[in-house]
Amino acid sequence: EPEVTQTPSHQVTQMGQEVILRCVPISNHLYFYWYRQILGQKVEFLVSFYNNEISEKSEIFDDQFSVERPDGSNFTLKIRSTKLEDSAMYFCASSDAGGTWEQYFGPGTRLTVT
């Protein structure tokens, strides 16, 4: 069964450093998303991406965040200058264009900012 994959599973970085989180969405999917989940809290939407551009972003997704689809398979989230409060699980999700509305999530990357 096709699945969304994410790397790395855990990233530890120092405050102020740049991190890139990587995702490989399900191959025939066209819509891509990033969500985050602070420990013990609900999953929050960050950004959606379609046709090589951002469709919607939340207020969390400020200028320090960016997304990119550098090739036909990868989808990345970059945080330019990490802050302590960026520590969270980051989930990538994808959905197809077939009108099913179903979003499939990857296993997540745990980002720890020290």
Binding site: V4, L30, Y31, Y33, Y35, Q41, K42, V43, E44, F45, S48, Y50, S55, E56, S58, F91, S95, D96, A97, G99, W101, E102, Q103, Y104, F105, G106, P107, G108
Partner: protein
């Protein structure tokens, strides 16, 4: 108006019993309501979803009940098993053929005891 309220926060059910988790929403533009199951350290996994054109959807031991007038929906897990112990999130979005963010509830930690 974008919130999805979920209750209870935690739930303990005996093996074989019925687990019931409730959600309520405000935004009448929402018309797609999925439930996700999350195990510790894993990403949310789509469990079952409903559109408001039906009042109930059943898949195996899992049933969603939907009350459009009350703007409420619930997940029922029949014959609950220890393997069902997980955190359950309700969510809502517009059904716009993809590219719609999910708004998640706060989660319910379900524990099934023998």
């Amino acid at each position: 108006q974008q919130q999805v309220k979920q209750s209870p926060q935690s739930l303990i059910v005996q093996k074989g019993g019925i687990s019931i988790i409730n959600c309520a929403y405000e935004n009448t533009a929402f018309d797609y309501f999925p439930w996700y199951q999350q195990f510790p350290g894993k990403g949310p996994a789509l469990l079952i979803a409903i559109r408001p054109d039906v009042s109930e959807k059943k898949e195996g031991r899992f049933t969603i009940s939907f009350n459009k007038s009350a703007k409420q929906f619930s997940l029922h897990i029949m014959d609950s098993q220890p393997g069902d112990s997980a955190t359950y999130f309700c969510a809502a979005s517009r059904a716009n053929f993809g590219n719609e963010k999910l708004t998640f509830g706060t989660g319910t930690r379900l524990t099934i005891i023998p």
